[in-house]
């Protein structure tokens, strides 16, 4: 039942974005996220949105898959919008009713905050949508490698991550089997109130834990038998190579970042003028 459910959000497609090096994708996602926090004008947000749409098209992703991840933070967006809208009290007053004041400044700040959150989550979800968990783990390992100089056990952490990912489908299967076994013994797992349901999970969780420990024990033997820890210099079969497309992707995102910084610190008038040109009197 769970076997074919893809873990995480990964959306399989044959695109250039999918094939990018996972390390590059991780770094560029970080650059993009930092970049968003420097955006100040509507012009900047349009630029960000344009970049995002270009990536989505290049990755052959359906818009719905990106929007789905935004839906997850909808409640957060609504709540922070309301707080922002009513808490910002400086600037021209637009509406006033008893203690509730909405100012022009508040409206702008709120709109920009919503844009920022939506663009941020969409951008981050692009990483998860186009990179398999295994690639992500490999990328993280590679990026964390310098930490081994300060005695962080990077190799072991990477092994733990990849084994955890490897066992997710196995443990899903196991959970299903245990649920069926308990149901066959007359357990009712999906009736009653929330407390009854949580209590009903105990006879599922305990066997799951016991069997996981048994599995861990057997896996440890199997790993030992295959010479894990034989040398400090464990080699890797797959060596990621930086391709031209990786360089191109880095160029695009870094250019975006540079434009955002320039617009904010050196040419703020550009953003203000373009905003005024588009929105005119609305501002």
């Amino acid at each position: 039942m769970f076997k074919d459910v893809a873990f995480g959000q990964y959306y399989p497609a044959n695109s250039a974005v999918h094939k990018l090096d996972s390390r590059i994708k991780l770094i560029l996602t970080l650059v993009y996220i930092i970049g968003i926090f420097f955006v100040k004008s509507y012009f900047g947000f349009m630029l960000t949105a344009a970049l995002l749409i270009i990536i989505i098209i290049a990755a052959k992703l359906p818009m719905a898959s990106v929007l789905r991840s935004v839906r997850g933070i909808l409640l957060l967006v609504v709540l922070t919008s309301i707080i922002n809208l009513f808490m910002i009290k400086d600037g021209d007053v637009l509406v006033q009713w008893k203690i509730f004041v909405i100012t022009k400044n508040g409206v702008h700040t709120t709109i920009k905050m919503v844009l920022r959150l939506v663009l941020l989550i969409s951008g981050a979800s692009l990483l998860a949508l186009t990179t398999t968990p295994v690639e992500l783990a490999d990328g993280l390992e590679s990026l964390m490698r310098p930490l081994s100089l300060i005695k962080v056990p990077v190799r072991d952490i990477a092994m733990i991550m990849s084994i955890a990912l490897r066992f997710i489908p196995t443990l899903f299967d196991e959970t299903n089997k245990i649920v069926s076994a308990q149901k066959a013994r007359g357990a009712s797992l999906d009736t009653g109130n929330i407390f009854a349901r949580i209590k009903a999970l105990i006879p599922v969780l305990i066997p799951l834990f016991v069997s996981s420990f048994r599995r861990a024990d057997e896996l440890a033997f199997a790993m030992d038998a295959r010479c894990y820890n034989a040398t400090d210099k464990r080699t890797k079969m797959k060596k990621p190579k930086i391709k031209f497309s990786d360089v191109l992707a880095a160029f695009v995102v870094l250019s975006f970042f540079t434009v955002i910084l320039l617009e904010r610190y050196y040419f703020p008038s550009v953003g203000i003028n373009i905003d005024a040109m588009i929105f005119g009197g609305l501002l």
Binding site: S162, E218, L219, F221, A222, A230, R234, T235, M237
Partner: protein, 276 residues
Amino acid sequence: MPFIEIKGVSYVYPLREGVSLKAVKNLSLSIEAGEFVALTGMNGSGKSTLAKLLNGLFKPTEGEILIDGVSTANEERIFDIRRRVGMVFQNPDNQTVATLIEDDVAFGPENLGLPRDEIIKRVNFALQAVGMSEYRKRDAAKLSGGQKQRVAIAGVLAMRPDVLILDEATSMLDPAGREEVMGVVRKLVEQGITVINITHNMEEAALAKRVVVLRKGRLAIDGTPSQVFSSSLFESCGLTLPPAAALAKELKDSGIDVGTVTTEESFAEGICKLLR
């Protein structure tokens, strides 16, 4: 000198304070290079413990095990011994380390710190040897039991072992999966790898050239399949004859002698001879 020498080995599991279990008792046995041995016995007879003793996962409490003259208690050579004596375990799901099949096969060579080209060469070779080359980019979780065990064998072969130990490697498989795995094993035996197959299944044991039966941690019977199946001790070890041998015995008791039978093939040969 035999390749594997087990000299007066005992192994005690420390269970908890003051309680222990002696799983292997004063066992002596030697196995030559290139032999195909089935190791059998009831649950708790010490088969699996012996397997773990052979590649140094456990160290003998008493006695000594020599692999090509090197003691398994020699900490400096332990990884060399584990490389030379590869092991495939019972549950395929609990011995697969990586998600992708080729990555899992590469795990052993990677641990040995081999250069990249060599790892790729060995992974290709090992997947080829078990007939799983076209599956290399697949997800290990989506394979059948027989395929998973073949991948596990490939993972061992990629380390270029001298000995392959199968620790009840077919006990969780359906008959088709068992057939697949034993087919690969037979091929490896022909190529000169020493194989020790630990099994409950007497049909499988009958395929080996030599059968070793353990009872309560001690050596009970050691001989060719036909010697072992006709031994007076056989049933006292808690074992039952494979169907072909059982049928031959019934026939013999009722006056029809089909000769020594261990497998279906030898039964068919015996019948043919009678009919002639």
